[in-house]
C-alpha cells in the first residue's frame, strides 16, 4: 500500500454493499471464540527456490502507488469492513488494501478524527495496537499509521484495521512549532497516548489536542533532528 498519499482517490473504491455479518455486541463473553480460521496448510516444499520471486517487480521509487492487483478474490469479511467505511465517508477515504485479516484505509488529516470515531463507534474497534510514523522525504510528507484492533468483538479478533494519514513534512523542522501537525486521536482511542508522544519526538509530528506532547524516550534536551526521519543519518553508515 502507499500509506503516503493522503489525497483520496476514487478509482480503487469498492462500491458493493457491505455483505459481512453484523457485528456482535462489544461486551459479549470474553471466552467466545472467533470463527476458526481456514488457513489451509500447503504441502511442505523444502527446496523451493525463492530466487524468482523477489525479482518480480523492483520498483525504483518506493512511494509509487501500487495498483490494486489482488482484486481478483478479496476476503469477504474484510471487504465488508472496508465497504462500511466507504459507504459512510465516500471519497473522503481511500481503501489502500484489503488482505486477509488486514484492511488498510488512507484518509486525509482533516477527516481522520471522524473516521476514527466511526471505526470505534460503528465498527466496534476499541484499541490501538501500534502507531508508526513513516517518513517520505520524496513526497514531502510523514505518514502516521494506526493499527487498530478489537478486544470486545470476537468476530474482529483477527482483524487489524490500518488507518493511515499524512502530515506535512518540513525541510527544517522545529518540532511542535511548525506545520507538521495532526489532530490527536487520544480522545477517540485512549491507548494512543504514549504512542503519539513517541511519534512526536521521533518524527516531529505535533498532535494537536494531545494533552501531553512531551518527549518520552529521547532526552529532554535533545536538540538534533527527530531521529527517525530519513535525513537523520547514523554515523558511519
Amino acid at each position: 500500500m502507499s500509506s503516503d498519499s493522503g489525497k483520496p482517490t476514487t478509482d480503487s473504491k469498492p462500491d458493493s454493499k457491505p455483505d459481512s455479518k453484523p457485528d456482535s455486541k462489544p461486551d459479549s463473553k470474553p471466552d467466545s471464540k472467533p470463527e476458526s480460521k481456514p488457513e489451509s496448510k500447503p504441502e511442505t516444499k523444502p527446496e523451493t527456490k525463492p530466487e524468482t520471486k523477489p525479482e518480480t517487480k523492483p520498483e525504483t521509487k518506493p512511494v509509487v502507488k501500487k495498483p490494486e492487483e489482488k482484486s481478483v478474490e478479496l476476503p469477504e469479511f474484510e471487504k465488508g469492513i472496508s465497504d462500511k467505511i466507504v459507504e459512510k465517508f465516500g471519497d473522503k477515504v481511500e481503501v489502500a488494501f484489503v488482505k486477509k485479516d488486514r484492511v488498510g484505509i488512507n484518509v486525509s488529516r482533516e477527516n481522520i478524527h471522524n473516521v476514527a470515531k466511526f471505526i470505534r463507534d460503528g465498527l466496534n474497534y476499541d484499541h490501538v495496537e501500534s502507531v508508526s510514523g513513516v517518513d517520505y522525504p520524496q513526497n514531502q510528507e510523514i505518514a502516521v499509521v494506526y493499527h487498530i484492533g478489537s478486544y470486545s468483538d470476537p468476530s474482529l479478533a483477527r482483524q487489524i484495521l490500518v488507518l493511515s494519514t499524512t502530515a506535512q513534512r518540513e525541510e527544517n523542522p522545529i518540532p511542535g512549532n511548525d506545520a507538521t501537525r495532526l489532530p490527536t486521536l487520544r480522545d477517540v482511542f485512549y491507548s494512543v497516548e504514549f504512542h503519539e508522544r513517541e511519534i512526536f519526538e521521533m518524527f516531529g509530528v505535533y498532535f494537536e489536542g494531545h494533552p501531553d506532547n512531551r518527549r518520552l524516550l529521547l532526552p529532554e534536551d535533545w536538540a538534533d533532528l527527530p531521529p527517525l526521519r530519513k535525513d537523520f543519518a547514523i554515523k558511519g553508515r
Binding site: P34, T44, D121, D135, A157, P211, L216, L217, I234
Partner: protein, 399 residues
C-alpha cells in the same frame, strides 16, 4: 461503548499545559509547573535495582500516590533506526536485543512478516521447531520475571528457585540453538539449525521436571498468605479499562479479557495444538502475577504436543538469497503472543535489501500506559508489586 475516558487517569501530564505567555516558547515538558506544598515528588530509578532502566516520577501525599509519571527511555538504542540500515538477515541479531530472555518471541513477528513479504512457505518441521523454541523462551522469560517479582516483594526463595530452574530450559535452548540467551535461531524461511541428536528425549525429560517444579511454587509463593495480602485488591484494572487502555498479554487476561494471539490469530502450527488461554477475572496484582505462571504450564503442554507431532525428518529452512528483497512496495503487520503479550512488527518494504521502516509494537510499551492509572491512590509500599505485575521489561519498551 461510552466515549468518556477512564476515570482517575492522571498521567502526571494532563495538568501540564504549555505556557505560551512566556517570551520564548518552550518545548512541551520544559515549562515550569506549580508545586503543591503537601505533595512530595519522588524519583524511583533509573538506577533502582528493581525498576530496571526506568524512572518513575511519583508524587505522594503522605503514604498515598497522587500521580505517577513513567519516564522510560534510559535504554533507548534506536533498534528501529538501525533496522533501516541493515538488510533483512543482518537485522536478526540486533532485533532480539530488546528482550534477550525472550529472543525467539521478539524475532517471531519480524520473521513472519519477512516471509509474507517474500511469499515464502516454511517447511512443516521448521514451524514446529519454532513453536518449541518460542514456548521454551516464554518460560525462560517468565521465570526471570518471576524471580524479580519475588525479590521485589522481599521473598528471596522466590528469587532463587526460578533462577535455578530457569537453567534447565536455558540448557535446553543451548542444545537446540548453540547459545544460552541470544539465540538468533529464527530466520526468514525457517530456523537456523536442525535439532541435535536425541534432543526430543532430553527436552521431554527436562520439561516434565520443569513442570513438576513450577507446580511447587504454589506452596511457597502463590498460596502464601503474605503474598496474597500484599497483592490482592491492589492495583485493580477493570475489564473496561483494560480494553480501553489497550493493554495486552497477562495484564489484559488477568482483567477478564480472553485475548491470546496464539488462539485468536494462530500463526505457524498453534491452531493444531491443544492449549488453554489463561484468563482471570480479578484484575489485581495477584491475578496479574498468577497468569504468567499458569501460562508456563500451558507452555509445557504445548511443548510436549509439539514434540509428539513434529515431522521426524525434513528440511528446516528454505534457503534465501543473501540479500532478500521484497516484492515491490509493500507493508505487513504481524503479531505473535510473546511472554508479555501481543508483540507486533510493522514492516514497510520498498524492494530494497533493507526495510524502509520497521516498527516493533512491543507489549511493555503498550502496558506502560496502565501504570499511572493503577498507581493513583495506591500506597507507596504497593508500588513495586503493582509495577512489576505489569510484566514490564524496560529495555523492550525503549527499544
Amino acid at each position: 461503548m461510552t466515549t468518556e475516558l477512564p476515570q482517575n487517569i492522571k498521567s502526571g501530564s494532563s495538568e501540564t499545559q504549555i505556557d505560551k505567555s512566556t517570551s520564548s516558547w518552550l518545548p512541551p515538558g520544559l515549562a515550569l509547573q506549580k508545586v503543591d506544598e503537601r505533595i512530595m515528588t519522588l524519583n524511583v530509578g533509573p538506577q533502582h535495582p528493581g525498576s530496571g532502566h526506568m524512572r518513575l516520577i511519583v508524587q505522594i501525599d503522605g503514604d498515598y500516590i497522587v500521580a505517577c509519571d513513567p519516564d522510560p527511555g534510559y535504554v533507548h538504542r534506536g533498534e528501529e533506526k538501525m533496522a533501516e540500515y541493515r538488510n533483512y538477515i543482518t537485522n536478526i541479531p540486533h532485533l532480539e536485543r530488546p528482550v534477550i530472555h525472550d529472543s525467539c518471541n521478539i524475532l517471531y513477528p519480524y520473521v513472519l512478516g519477512v516471509e509474507e513479504l517474500l511469499g515464502i512457505e516454511v517447511p512443516e518441521r521448521a514451524k514446529y521447531l519454532r513453536v518449541i523454541g518460542a514456548e521454551i523462551n516464554r518460560c525462560i522469560y517468565i521465570m526471570y520475571w518471576l524471580a524479580i517479582y519475588g525479590i521485589f516483594l522481599g521473598h528471596s526463595t522466590m528469587f532463587m528457585w526460578p533462577t535455578g530452574d530457569r537453567e534447565l530450559l536455558i540448557d535446553l535452548m543451548e542444545k537446540m540453538t548453540g547459545a544460552r540467551v541470544t539465540h538468533s535461531h529464527f530466520v526468514p524461511g525457517g530456523v537456523r539449525n536442525d535439532l541435535p541428536a536425541n534432543f526430543e528425549d532430553v527436552c521431554l525429560r527436562q520439561v516434565n521436571y520443569f513442570e513438576k517444579r513450577i507446580k511447587e511454587y504454589a506452596a511457597v509463593f502463590y498460596d502464601n498468605p503474605i503474598l496474597i495480602s500484599r497483592t490482592k485488591d491492589t492495583g485493580v484494572l477493570s475489564r473496561q479499562d483494560a480494553i480501553r487502555l489497550g493493554t495486552t498479554g497477562s495484564v489484559l487476561r488477568a482483567s477478564g479479557v480472553d485475548f491470546d494471539v496464539r488462539k485468536k490469530e494462530p500463526y505457524d502450527v498453534y491452531d493444531e495444538l491443544d492449549f488453554e488461554s489463561i484468563v482471570m477475572k480479578e484484575g489485581d496484582s495477584y491475578a496479574r502475577s498468577k497468569v504468567p505462571w499458569l501460562d508456563m504450564m500451558e507452555s509445557c503442554r504445548i511443548i510436549r504436543q509439539a514434540l509428539e507431532k513434529i515431522p521426524k525428518s525434513g528440511s528446516v529452512r528454505v534457503k534465501l538469497k543473501p540479500n532478500p528483497k521484497g516484492k515491490g512496495f509493500d507493508t505487513v503487520y504481524k503479531r505473535v503472543e510473546s511472554g508479555r503479550g501481543s508483540l507486533g512488527c510493522y514492516i514497510v518494504s520498498d524492494a530494497k535489501p533493507e526495510p524502509y521502516r520497521l516498527k516493533l509494537s512491543v507489549p511493555s510499551f503498550r502496558n506502560l500506559i496502565a501504570l499511572p492509572y493503577l498507581l493513583k491512590g495506591e500506597k507507596l509500599g504497593n508500588m513495586p508489586s503493582v509495577y512489576w505485575s505489569l510484566n514490564y521489561w524496560p529495555v523492550e519498551a525503549d527499544r
